[in-house]
């Protein structure tokens, strides 16, 4: 498999694994996540479409499959999934951590008053 293709598949799997076994936010099981991804895909078609149609970014053989949806190499969709998935997984992970810290400080404050 070409290098970029292999890396794109690996990055998507790595992001799935990161959430499944390490950060465990459960983000990928939520309908809101897939709805958000759907909206982002629309924007991606415009931005990535422009970048590859102009082209602002050139892609080179033999590093990708050469299969494009419109002007966008198929690998870019997995790359995009990994990138958007990763930022939202971290966002949720940090959100949960801070919420629990807030609860922790609130309960300890309440405890010291009591």
């Amino acid at each position: 498999m070409p290098e970029y293709s292999l890396l794109a598949v690996s990055s998507a799997i790595a992001v799935l694994a990161l959430d499944r076994w390490i950060l465990r936010t459960g983000l990928l099981r939520r309908r809101s996540f897939w709805i958000t991804l759907g909206f982002l895909l629309l924007g991606k078609l415009v931005v990535n479409g422009y970048l590859t149609a102009r082209p602002i970014v050139h892609y080179y053989a033999p590093y990708y499959l050469g299969i494009r949806l419109g002007t966008i190499p198929v690998e870019d969709f997995l790359y995009g999934f990994a990138m958007l998935g990763l930022v939202l997984i971290y966002w949720e992970y940090l959100g949960k951590r801070w919420r629990s810290e807030d609860r922790g400080s609130l309960s300890s404050a309440a405890g010291s008053e009591g």
Partner: protein, 104 residues
């Protein structure tokens, strides 16, 4: 036009950025700047490294006709900015979807 990549990025980024201060999502997005910074940096770091390596290796290249010519780590400045900008758009949309779906 040499500013084309930057213009595309700006057009994509500015509307979500401006709308992120709307009262329906402002608190969710901006209450914890460290959370925002951490999530963006957590995504940007591996993707910057990947991008620098892949550009060096010749997987892809950026057309000098449409980039300003300011290079950082051998990438156009626009390409480095691409990741935090798109990351922010993702977080913004996620919070908008959550708001309309009434998720706590």
């Amino acid at each position: 036009m040499k500013g084309e990549y930057l213009l595309l990025l700006t057009l994509a980024f500015l509307p979500p950025f401006a709308l992120s201060f709307h009262r329906n999502v402002r608190r969710a997005i901006w209450a914890r700047p460290g959370r925002l910074f951490g999530a963006l940096l957590g995504m940007c770091l591996p993707f910057w490294i990947w991008d620098v390596w892949a550009t060096e290796r010749g997987h892809w290249a950026f057309d000098p006709r449409y980039t300003l010519g300011i290079r950082v780590l051998n990438l156009p400045l626009e390409e480095l900015l691409f990741f935090p900008c798109i990351g922010f758009i993702a977080i913004f949309l996620w919070e908008v979807v959550r708001f309309y779906r009434r998720e706590p």
